[in-house]
């Protein structure tokens, strides 16, 4: 146990007041060690004064508790000198505040006189002023690339799609939440070993033997009723809950694609012997021979049976129709683990072992009808077009004449309750099927032969063209079916309007790759879903690196029929359950490894020097020079090139293998500190300008999280970058790579990862599903991206009349009807009192809960740290946990008050809880609570009273906007330079940052302000 830990066992009074000192400065203080040290050499004329007047005061009133042994609240006063170090300036500022406020020394201790207080205060003011007048000593920096920076850099350097960085240990997280801070970056032998292995693997993938022909697998599966004239005669199985399409509806063709180079086509193995198979849920053992491509490639629907509305899928002559794939719940046993409903996949035994692949789906939006919900009444009346049963039998060649094109409602009239029978109808070429819902009685018709009462059900809304419409229908055994009735709807009819919205929706096509297992889903999405808006078949292309997807890792000679089955999933994506025209899949084609050229681009990217066959050494040197310059993000020095080249020479001398020798040399480049580190090399203790290349790297790792591009390096080579910072910043913000910054920065600043680890009580928050969580986590990122893209004033961060949402997120806030943009995040005017700004992002609020109850402390501490940069101290050790279920009837707030009234806790919590109470109107799912008595009033630390969260938002957006802007810039600067700020830098942002207020703290202004300040451009 450390001395700090004893704190609670003994007197309470001292420590609790002491916490106050640490209150707002703690995080600066505790982690400021990595900030450049201030010059200690400056001799102060005040040295004598310090020794004669100040030190005795400190000794007498402070050091007894704040010394090396006791270090109350982690604070040491005994180390203060006449010329304090930079990190101690934060402490001085805190002492000043504590003494000023009369908080220190504690009430029951010896007190300073007014005169002594003044002396101390004056000294602090003059010392800080003097300290700030001195230049901060700079000593350059060496920062390792973060895992994501390394991944991005490797990818752009090698043009390699595949992600090889899984084996790297995750980066440490700093107190501010960042992973790129030099003091949290550890390097271990394990990590360096991983760098070696990754580099070796990457080079093996990039560099090929040009003389060998590549082997390419290419096949297509066509889908449609009776598309296969020679279907597989065997009954195929694929384990429980796999619904194989009928053999005649599936056609697999192996192809030999046209390529501008010679290659070897790969044909899948069709003959197999297996000893292990399944009958139902039991394993059976008996050798059996198989010989058909349809025992190697299967077309299969998976998911729990049933679909809430209509059929999950339907095979029609033109292809396979899919409804949106409804995600499954997370936990086994509640309903299923077999992946979403309506989940189509191709299951197959063989895919390439490495390289990139391409999946091409030919798909269209089906010209669909809308199945009617149970609450719409049947319209069947005598004015509508009625088709009697006699014309509907499958053999009858029935037609109905449609005189007016338009939207029709189709009602089904029955002579009795059809129970759960499936009703299906074909209108022209189009097919529709579903259960009949909500049958209502119609008055018996006098002319009918059947006197029994008729039941009618509204079934379908559909747009019909003018002319004769071919027609057939089926309901169970048809004995109950009487007639169909078509009623044309006015465009103003509510159902017609609903249909108009429906028919303009475009399903999203998603492609997945994974492996079969008996449970759960291992399918991982390939790229992004694509919208299918046309009724005509179009090709949709999805690409990835095969090893970025789950691989069955099964030995080749496995004797189980179901072992090692790969899967290519194809889905119509589900957002929030809105009605969606079905997705029509005509064919799915796979090609891999996918090469545009041979040798592939990854190879040519390295071997880009003109081949000089007789002089491999010349070629090698040119290759290495060009590669190393790109890897080091600056020109290589002669000495560096000599060293790298000598690796090639030695390797070539011993093996005579040029390619292998190049690999060896490149392996050294990819493990060199010049590649792995961002180095700012200082020559003197004085602040220096960054070297232009250092600036290029600093800028691009800040705004793109990856290496500088050609243009930045060119500007650096001409030494023009420094004066182009404004235009370059604008250009970089507009570049797609800027997303890599937003993702990192927003997630880390706002602690979005907290949502990942919350285990949600799904009974209380059934809507906070796995998929909702994924999208809600993206919301603050997209929001911030939008603020920056539009260069909006910062006040929107806390108070805005719009949210930025996709269909899932909007729907979570009950605003689903405001967008038809699928997975795309767009601004939506919310028109609600309780939305807008990140404070009410449900993902953030849920992340700051325990998945059951809202938590004002977590939320309060988050506001204090992230939004206004007044971080509270860490909780002291041995704080008793507040029990939520302790049998008392107190609310959490009341329990908290009890807790705060304990002496050890009050001081800290007075800086946390007031920020958290206004959030009490929001539940652990991040939405407004209903029913319960809630008290969201709060008295903030400066005495302002707010009535609820809206009050807090208004207060932050108006009264405290300077502090919010400071917090944003402080976090931005910290992230940009990869270390904590010095006192001077901290004060600089606080004081000079305010100048941006006149232009409303626009986002670009703040980013440029940080970039153009000395803290960024000097080393």
């Amino acid at each position: 146990m450390t001395d700090k830990n004893r704190f609670f066992d003994r007197s309470h009074i001292l420590p609790l007041v002491a916490i106050g000192i640490a209150f707002w400065i703690q995080s600066e203080l505790a982690t400021a060690e990595d900030a450049p040290a201030n010059s200690a050499s400056a001799v102060s004329t005040d040295a004598t004064a310090f020794h004669e007047q100040i030190q005795p005061l400190l000794q007498k009133f402070c050091v007894r508790c704040h010394n090396a042994d006791d270090m109350k609240s982690g604070v040491r006063v005994d180390q203060l000198t006449a010329t304090p170090e930079d990190r101690q300036l934060f402490l001085l500022k805190a002492i000043q505040k504590q003494v000023d406020d009369g908080v220190m020394p504690p009430v029951d201790e010896l007190q300073l006189t007014a005169e002594q207080r003044r002396t101390l205060n004056d000294w602090i003011v003059s010392t800080i002023t003097a300290a700030r007048a001195r230049d901060t000593k700079k000593n350059g920096s060496v920062r390792r690339l973060t895992v994501s920076q390394y991944r991005n850099t490797l990818k752009s350097l090698l043009l390699l799609e595949e992600d090889l960085t899984e084996s790297l240990p995750p980066d440490g997280i700093s107190k501010e939440g960042f992973t790129n801070q030099s003091h949290t970056m550890i390097l271990s032998p394990l990590q360096v070993e991983s760098y070696f292995n990754i580099a070796e693997k990457a080079l093996d993938l990039c560099i090929v033997d040009e003389s060998k022909k590549p082997v390419i697998q290419n096949f297509r599966m066509d889908l449609g009723t009776a598309i296969n004239p020679e279907p597989c005669p065997d009954k195929l199985i694929l384990g429980a809950n796999n619904f194989l399409l009928n053999n005649p509806d599936v056609l697999v063709t192996e192809l030999t694609p046209k390529k501008p180079f010679a290659y070897e086509p790969f044909f899948m193995r069709k003959e197999y012997d297996f000893i292990e198979g399944y009958v139902g849920n039991d394993t059976i053992r008996a050798w059996k021979k198989f010989n058909s491509i349809y025992h190697s490639v299967f077309a299969c629907m998976r998911g729990s049976p049933g679909y809430p509305k209509g059929q999950a899928f339907q095979v029609v002559p033109e292809g396979l129709l899919l409804r949106p794939a409804i995600p499954s719940p997370e936990i086994f046993g509640q309903s299923d683990t077999y992946g979403p409903m309506a989940n189509f996949k191709i299951s197959l035994r063989e895919l390439p072992e490495e390289g990139n692949f391409r999946v091409t789906v030919r798909a269209a939006r089906y010209d669909d009808g809308l199945l009617i919900d149970s609450d719409s009444p049947a319209l069947a009346n005598d004015n509508a077009i009625s088709v009697p049963l006699s014309e509907l039998t499958p053999n009858a060649n029935a037609f109905v004449l449609i005189k007016d094109a338009g939207i029709y409602q189709l009602d089904v009239v029955c002579g009795g309750d059809p129970a759960k029978d499936l009703f299906s109808v074909t209108l022209g070429d189009r097919q529709f099927a579903g259960e009949l819902r909500k049958l209502t009685f119609l008055p018996a018709r006098p002319n009918d032969e059947d006197k029994s009462k008729e039941l009618a059900s509204a079934f379908l809304l559909v747009r019909l063209p003018v002319g004769e419409l071919k027609l057939s229908a089926r309901l169970g055994d048809n004995s109950k079916l009487r007639r169909l009735v078509f009623s044309r709807l006015d465009n103003s009819h509510e159902s017609a309007q609903r249909f108009s919205v429906f028919e303009n929706r475009a399903p999203s096509l998603g492609v997945y790759l994974g492996l079969r297992r008996d449970c759960g889903s291992t399918l991982t999405q390939v790229g992004q879903p694509q919208r299918v808006a046309s009724g005509e078949l179009e090709e949709f292309i999805f690409e990835g690196a095969i090893n970025d997807f789950p691989n069955p890792d099964v030995e080749k000679d496995n004797v189980n029929y179901l072992a090692g089955i790969r899967e290519i999933g194809v889905r119509s994506e589900y957002t929030d359950g809105r009605d969606m025209p079905r997705l029509k899949i005509r064919s799915v084609e796979f090609e891999g490894p996918y090469y545009e050229s041979w040798p592939p681009a990854t190879h040519q990217n390295i071997f880009n020097a003109s081949a000089t066959e007789n002089e491999p050494a010349m070629e090698a040197r040119a290759i290495l020079q060009s590669f190393a310059a790109r890897a080091f993000r600056r020109p290589v020095t002669d000495a560096e090139l000599d060293a790298i080249f000598s690796v090639w020479q030695k390797s070539f001398a011993s093996t005579g293998n040029h390619r292998q020798s190049i690999k060896d040399a490149l392996l050294v480049v990819l493990n060199a500190p010049q590649f792995l580190f961002l180095i700012e090399n200082s020559q003197t203790p004085e602040p220096e300008d960054l070297d232009p290349y250092e600036l290029a790297s600093k800028l691009s790792y800040f705004l793109w999280n990856t290496a500088p591009d050609q243009r930045l390096l060119e500007l650096a080579s001409k030494n023009e970058l420094l004066r182009s910072l404004d235009t370059e910043t604008e250009r970089m913000i507009g570049d797609p790579r800027f997303e890599q910054f937003i993702n990192e920065f927003a997630s880390q600043w706002l602690s979005l990862d907290k949502l990942d680890v919350v285990s949600v009580d799904s009974k209380r928050y059934p809507r906070l599903t796995r998929d909702a969580k994924t999208q809600l986590r993206r919301e603050p990122v997209q929001f911030l991206a939008y603020l920056i893209e539009q260069n909006l004033p910062l006040r929107n961060l806390v108070q805005s009349d719009f949210i930025v949402a996709n269909e899932i997120v909007a729907s979570y806030y009950n605003l689903g009807s405001q967008t038809e943009n699928g997975f795309r995040f767009v601004p939506i005017k919310h028109g609600q009192e309780n939305l807008g700004g990140v404070l009410t992002n449900a993902g953030i609020l849920a992340g700051l809960s325990d998945g059951r109850e809202s938590n004002p402390i977590k939320r309060g501490a988050w506001v204090a740290r992230k939004i206004i940069a007044e971080p509270p101290d860490d909780p002291p050790p041995n704080v008793p946990r507040i029990k939520e279920d302790d049998g008392t009837l107190l609310t959490l707030r009341e329990k908290l008050e009890q807790h705060r009234n304990q002496q050890g806790c009050a001081k800290c919590h007075s800086g946390i809880d007031p920020w958290g109470f206004p959030f009490e109107s929001f539940d652990a799912g991040g939405l407004l609570k209903t029913g319960a008595t809630i008290d969201p009033r709060s008295k903030l630390p400066d005495g302002t009273e707010v009535k609820d969260l809206n009050g807090l938002k208004a207060y932050l957006a108006n009264d405290r906007i300077d502090q919010v802007a400071f917090s944003f810039m402080k976090h931005l600067a910290c992230y940009a330079i990869g270390r904590n700020l010095t006192y001077n830098e901290f004060m600089f942002l606080q004081e000079q940052g305010k100048n941006l207020r006149s232009n409303d703290y626009r986002m670009h202004d703040m980013i440029k302000f940080v970039i153009k300040s000395d803290l960024f451009i000097k080393k």
């Binding site: 000593n139 350059g140 920096s141 060496v142 992600d163 899984e166 030099s182 970056m185 550890i186 390097l187 271990s188 032998p189 394990l190 990590q191 360096v192 070993e193 070696f196 292990e276 039991d282 394993t283 053992r285 997370e330 936990i331 086994f332 683990t337 297992r517 008996d518 449970c519 759960g520 291992t522 999405q525 997807f549 789950p550 691989n551 890792d553 099964v554 030995e555 000679d557 496995n558 189980n560 179901l562 072992a563 090692g564 000495a639 560096e640 060293a643 000598s646 690796v647 060896d664 392996l667 050294v668 493990n671 500190p673 792995l676 580190f677 090399n681 200082s682 003197t684 203790p685 796995r770």
Partner: protein
């Protein structure tokens, strides 16, 4: 990992016995290590759970878990063969994988040593690292083989029907070996061609690490006032890797301790007599521990859900039904037969513990320097709580045995973290662990 590049001098010296002493002196070996007892780990998995008969069947004495808790426990009929080792083992009750209850129960062998959230896998991840591989990462510098992964069926099986219980740092399954002769040839014979390849690869890697180190040193000289700390860490890491590679290379030349192999029947295989097969596999593990060839072993004794050859073993033993089918039995006769298969397995485990006990080692027997974990991923079939778990050995690592410890709803990963800590592997956590076991058989965690 620090500077733990020392080799076990004892192992080397034993290896040197009777051989010329002009072999390279291993400078990586530290004095303090020489007298330190090795710390080893062996995990053994049995599928489909154990027999815990229904009370109405009136055969409680055949329950795998002892009826009473604490030090006064009595062995049941199916664990009776283990009673001679009463002071060297403990029953552990109430353990479970929190992720196990969320996932399909057929995944219980996949996650037994990993605790991974297989119900919600990380995209691209297959599983997470298994306990034996964490041990291997920390013990590999002391021995020839980082780990030995064995199973009743060779290979890996497939996800949800796994044929191995060991997963590497990336969560990929490590193919298991199942043939005693192949295991013996690889461990004790060392095939020349593969040694030559191994040496070549090591030498190439050493050269490249050297080149990187040279380059880094010259860069370091050019650096002016810059922060040296990161560079220092980097150089130290490179140094350590080089030392480790050099040590690995030297192992290739050091002969293996001479042992008596006469009792081995390398023709035994999984298609033959079950006990003959298991005994030979156990003999190989014991010999490998004794010669310090490896310090981490994982052995899947049989497979879940009727997979593989082991499903037929109860039939071979005259118990009429297959393993998976017995595990589903509800009737008295079936549950008794299932318990009798447990009895058969207990006999095999007792044999193994006996072998480890016979080999002398620093400060005691090999068993005293080895933690043996034996258990299943289900208590009875498809019930992933109260996992039947036995811990044996490890007296020199602070394990105090002879008890039936029980604490309901304790994460299995806490047991695993306790094993790691006992082995002086200072990992902050393992998988979903929430801490180490308190007041249990582990006294040095």
């Amino acid at each position: 990992m620090g500077s733990s590049v020392q080799l076990d001098r004892r192992a080397v010296l034993k290896g040197l016995a009777g051989v010329t002493l002009s072999l390279p002196l291993l400078e990586a070996m530290g004095k303090e290590v020489a007298e330190t007892a090795p710390r080893r780990f062996c995990a053994m998995y049995t599928a489909n759970g154990m027999s815990l008969p229904k009370p109405t069947n009136g055969i409680d004495e055949w329950s795998w878990f002892p009826k009473t808790e604490g030090r006064g426990f009595e062995f049941g009929k199916s664990t009776e063969p283990l009673s001679p080792f009463r002071d060297k083992l403990s029953f552990m009750g109430g353990l479970y994988h929190p992720n196990g209850t969320k996932a399909d129960p057929h995944l219980c062998s996949d996650m037994w040593l990993t605790g991974a959230p297989l119900h919600n896998p990380k995209p691209g991840m297959f599983n997470s690292v298994a306990l034996d591989q964490v041990v291997a990462t920390h013990t590999k510098q002391y021995c020839r083989q980082p780990s030995l992964v064995l199973s009743i069926d060779a290979g890996v099986g497939f996800l949800s029907r796994t044929g191995t219980i060991s997963y590497n740092q990336e969560g990929k399954p490590i193919p298991a070996e199942n043939n005693p002769r192949r295991v013996f040839d690889r461990l004790f014979r060392g095939d020349r061609a593969s040694l030559a390849t191994q040496r070549e690869q090591l030498q190439r890697r050493i050269k490249l690490v050297d080149a990187v180190l040279d380059n880094a040193k010259s860069l370091n000289k050019q650096l002016g006032q810059s922060d040296r700390e990161k560079m220092d860490q980097y150089m130290t890491s490179l140094d350590e890797i080089e030392t480790r590679l050099t040590a690995s290379e030297k192992w290739i030349d050091i002969p293996i301790k001479s042992q008596d192999y006469s009792h081995l029947n390398l023709d035994a295989n999984s298609e033959g007599e079950p006990h003959e097969y298991y005994r030979n596999m156990f003999d190989l593990i014991a010999l490998a521990f004794d010669a310090d060839i490896t310090r981490s072993v994982a052995f899947m004794l049989n497979r879940e859900d009727g997979m593989g050859v082991s499903d037929t073993f109860p039939v071979k033993l005259g118990l009429n039904r297959t393993h998976h089918s017995l595990s589903h039995a509800e009737d008295k006769e079936g549950q008794l037969a299932f318990a009798k298969y447990d009895l058969f397995l207990s006999e095999q485990i007792a044999y193994f513990l006996g072998r480890l006990q016979q080999f002398q080692d620093i400060n005691g027997s090999v068993l005293d320097n080895s933690i043996v974990l034996y258990g299943s991923g289900a208590s009875t079939t498809h019930n992933p709580t109260n996992l039947p778990t036995l811990i044996a050995g490890g007296a020199n690592m602070g394990l105090k045995h002879g008890t039936h410890w029980r604490k309901p709803n304790t994460p299995m990963s806490n047991l695993y973290l306790s094993i790691l800590r006992s082995m002086k592997i200072e990992e902050p956590s393992f998988s979903d662990s929430t801490g180490v076991l308190q007041d249990s058989v582990f006294t040095q965690v």
